[in-house]
Symmetry: C2
């Protein structure tokens, strides 16, 4: 009986994944706003009613695609946090990775960028989960930098919030786009600014 439940659960996961795959492809082509449940169902040769068995609404599918796009950045940042490098090098690499991901998506995948921007603008739950995951990686780096005498921070959690806020221009997909025409500060100048505080103490 348990086995049967497991098989059913796997089948459900596969179906959800196929729906998200199909949706992501359509979002990329025509944008998430123009894509309907009917379009997604048609791409999978199933009925709209069948799609609704796995997602209660189009909004849930939007969320699932956006979550997947953000998961890539989240994973990359988590990987950087665990690299064998100094805390300041890892912190810099994380912020640069986030900025690169935003810039890359904006340049080569404008329609998916719109989805992520909307998610940020409307503060979807998946965005808050993403922000928490990034905070966790930065927090690990700052904690270890402190432990190893590289940083001198009294309140690690506050330091994470401050670094994230100070770097919002490179964090936030919309700000990132708005600020591309500003020559200064560069991302490295802004990271240097934050590192002065972390290294000298806060």
């Amino acid at each position: 009986m348990e086995k049967l439940a497991q098989v059913a659960s796997h089948a459900r996961d596969d179906a959800r994944r196929a729906i998200v795959d199909a949706a992501e492809k359509l979002f990329r082509e025509i944008g998430f706003q123009k894509t309907t449940i009917g379009d997604i169902a048609q791409g999978l040769r199933m009925s709209s009613a069948n799609v609704y068995r796995f997602f209660a609404s189009k909004a849930e599918i939007n969320e699932a695609v956006a979550r997947r796009l953000l998961a890539e950045i989240k994973m990359e940042v988590a990987g950087i946090a665990r690299r064998p490098a100094s805390a300041s090098q890892r912190l810099r690499a994380c912020i640069v990775a986030i900025d690169d991901a935003n810039a890359q998506r904006f340049l080569s995948d404008r329609k998916c960028h719109e989805l992520v921007e909307t998610a940020f603008n409307e503060n979807w739950i998946i965005v808050r989960e993403y922000a928490q995951a990034i905070d966790k990686s930065l927090s690990e780096i700052i904690f270890e930098g402190n432990r190893d005498g590289e940083f001198h921070v009294i309140d690690c959690n506050l330091a994470v919030v401050l670094v994230r806020t100070a770097c919002a221009q490179f964090y936030h997909p919309r700000m990132a786009v708005e600020c591309t025409e500003n020559a200064e500060p560069t991302i490295h100048q802004l990271v240097d600014f934050c590192l002065v505080v972390l290294e000298r103490g806060l």
Copy 2:
């Protein structure tokens, strides 16, 4: 002849001011998007054609009202920059004044806030002029802080850009609104963060 030109110029300024007054009042009541040149003309008991003698388009009137709203903040910040207080106190007071002005406008004058937000979103020329004026005030403070040994900044202009970027959450009318639900960082925590850098050197 010169005298006549002067009188004409004054009359022109008065007429423009009356139009901006009337527009601002209507913007406050029904919002800038819904206000037409016809509404503004009617409020002044003049024809739309007459309004067009002074402003080429509705967009120009929008700009004039937004410029006036931002001028208040600009003046206040310029005043703070010249106060007899330490550089760090003046810097803090400037950032707090900008944040207060945004919060105040958002709370008590939502429709004018929308106009300013739109101006920022669309990067109107008046917003760039405003940003330059604020930069100038901050630059004066940082330059004097440096001169008096309170700050240790090598590149004052870069320091201004970095402080402005780090504090974007409190600078930018839209960000300010989005971030009101975040408990941290407070504006004082963020200013402290910036002051560490200015005081210890960049």
